[in-house]
Assembly symmetry: C2
């Protein structure tokens, strides 16, 4: 039985959607037990009937979604659902943590409470991005856990994201590209130039070279490696642009009768596109490089997104991803 | 009479579209003279009738669009249309340069041939991005001229982009945001933290704080300041995503009869959206911080895009932007 700790208070629609997602998950997988961390009274409001594999771990506090200083929040809210789940993961009481709470807080809790694997220089946040190719997803690593990067971190990102892609997403021989300002070797700042060499020198990585921002969602590669600063900028640019284009489309369609008629006809097609580009179909972002799987579900997660994040956590646990990462990097050092 | 040097050999559709764009420009503006730099025989093929304000400056060479090492290309192709135009701009023979040639080569030619203003630490490439707000554009500065940045460069980018926005695009009191991984002060790497303080301390800049990648094209600010590395990544992520979303839309529409019917009805609306999001309606990217206006038109520029880039160059010359930039930074030093 895999024990998954779910931060029931994290996310824009908590605790309702996390609780509903927990029910969906236990129905789907009979080898998991879910511990709901959070305010018991609040959680109970949304629990249909008792379930033998869903338990509540009462916590008094909640980390707000808009915290400014993540590291301080982790110290301040010691009895919060997020910190408590991370503590229990570190102690081995649970096997993985899923939270739709504040990203910065979860990265801090993952790093400071679950703690970094000693072989990993810096943890990295690895979201799975939808692409325009059907059923093709691309992992971005790092999307913002470590802003100030060194070449060695980028190299490790390539290494650990490859293991994650192989074990959890079942991608054989995942291809890896380095986010850069041009496709030729020798592009970018010293950081990218050095990282390029390190990644290329490791034959266990299926490295295909540099990749520009313009092909982020074209589905050409399985993994895009970046420092946390530019990875975060790029990911948000992609998400924001996609959202902006659809809102512009909606605005233009709704401003005329012709537009409204066309929109009505195309409704099922627009829904399909929306579904294809929807991150919640894929699951959450995994914080790689800490001692237990920590999954960040999108802040706006509905129960489906939570269920998918739990599925991901279950997969990471059953495939023993954490030990495989630690072992791969240990071999590297020896 | 303003003398604009046009690289007739630069761009995917050269020399045809540059030559046609030159004709459109002289018809629109009677105070400009255009010098077409390039292979005379090739250029003449696309010249309708002779025009007293369009002249050819014959150059033997052409810098290829796919050069790998821009600085070396500039030294190697001394008699290329791009380098010759830049030399003449430096010598004061012409007032500005417009080229749709390779971006890296034009940045190198601008920096090494037209040369940096002594008050400017590093030149910056400033494209004008369409946004989802009607008739609202946002300048990105720097989009890739200087990958390895220092806080002082970002501060200067804020300063010179403000002058450009005011003088050439006629935006009163342009608002400036710093591209970052979060909106709160204190976010980002040391580079952004230091740059934030420098920009904030200058009361001549209408600084509104940090901005995330997700609002790049929402049209909230007039200027986004970035280092060349992350600016380039973000710009290409925006352009690539917008293109990807439209190609996904097209694919889905064309895959069913329902889609085709809807597409037919919505054709005029889709055209309008495309036009709104089309960068060629706006003009090119200006290389700020060199001794004469240098405008980079998009590689895929048609005659309209070239004409708009010429319009921009004319405006930059007539408003004496180069001297205003140099003066503003000089006052700063004193």
């Amino acid at each position: 039985m895999f024990k998954i700790g779910l931060d029931a208070m994290g996310g824009d629609f908590a605790p309702e959607q996390p609780v509903l997602g927990a029910y969906e998950a236990v129905e789907k997988f009979n080898d998991i037990e879910i511990l709901l961390y959070g305010q018991a009274d609040e959680i109970k409001k949304y629990m249909k009937e008792p379930h033998e594999r869903i338990k509540i771990v009462h916590c008094e506090e909640v980390i707000p979604m808009d915290i400014k200083d993540p590291a301080m929040a982790i110290r301040k809210y010691k009895d919060s659902s997020m910190v408590r789940a991370c503590k229990d993961a570190k102690a081995g009481e649970i096997d993985a943590v899923v939270s739709a709470g504040a990203t910065g807080a979860l990265i801090a809790a993952g790093t400071l409470v679950v703690k970094r694997l000693k072989e990993v220089e810096r943890p990295a946040l690895a979201p799975v991005m939808p692409t325009i190719k059907a059923n093709k997803y691309t992992i971005l690593c790092d999307a913002g856990a470590t802003s100030e990067a060194k070449p060695q971190y980028l190299y490790q990102n390539a290494k650990i994201a490859s293991i994650y892609a192989k074990e959890v997403l079942h991608i054989q021989n995942p291809s890896v590209a380095l986010l850069n300002i041009g496709t030729e070797e020798g592009k970018g700042t010293d950081l990218q130039k050095e990282a390029f060499k390190l990644i290329q020198a490791d034959s266990s990585i299926n490295f295909v070279g540099n990749m520009e921002g313009k092909t982020m969602i074209s589905g050409e590669v399985d993994i895009i490696v970046a420092d946390g600063y530019s990875g975060n900028i790029a990911l948000k640019a992609v998400e924001g642009t996609s959202k902006s284009v659809f809102s512009l489309l909606k605005e233009e369609l709704m401003s005329s009768t012709r537009g409204k008629v066309g929109a009505l006809i195309l409704k099922p097609i627009f829904s399909r596109i929306k579904k294809r580009m929807d991150a919640s179909e894929v699951g959450g972002a995994m914080l790689l490089g800490v001692t237990a799987p920590v999954i960040k579900a999108h802040g706006s997660s509905d129960s489906l997104a939570i269920m998918n994040a739990i599925r991901q956590a279950r997969e990471a646990v059953s495939q023993d991803v954490v030990n495989k990462i630690s072992q791969a990097l240990r071999e590297n050092v020896e």
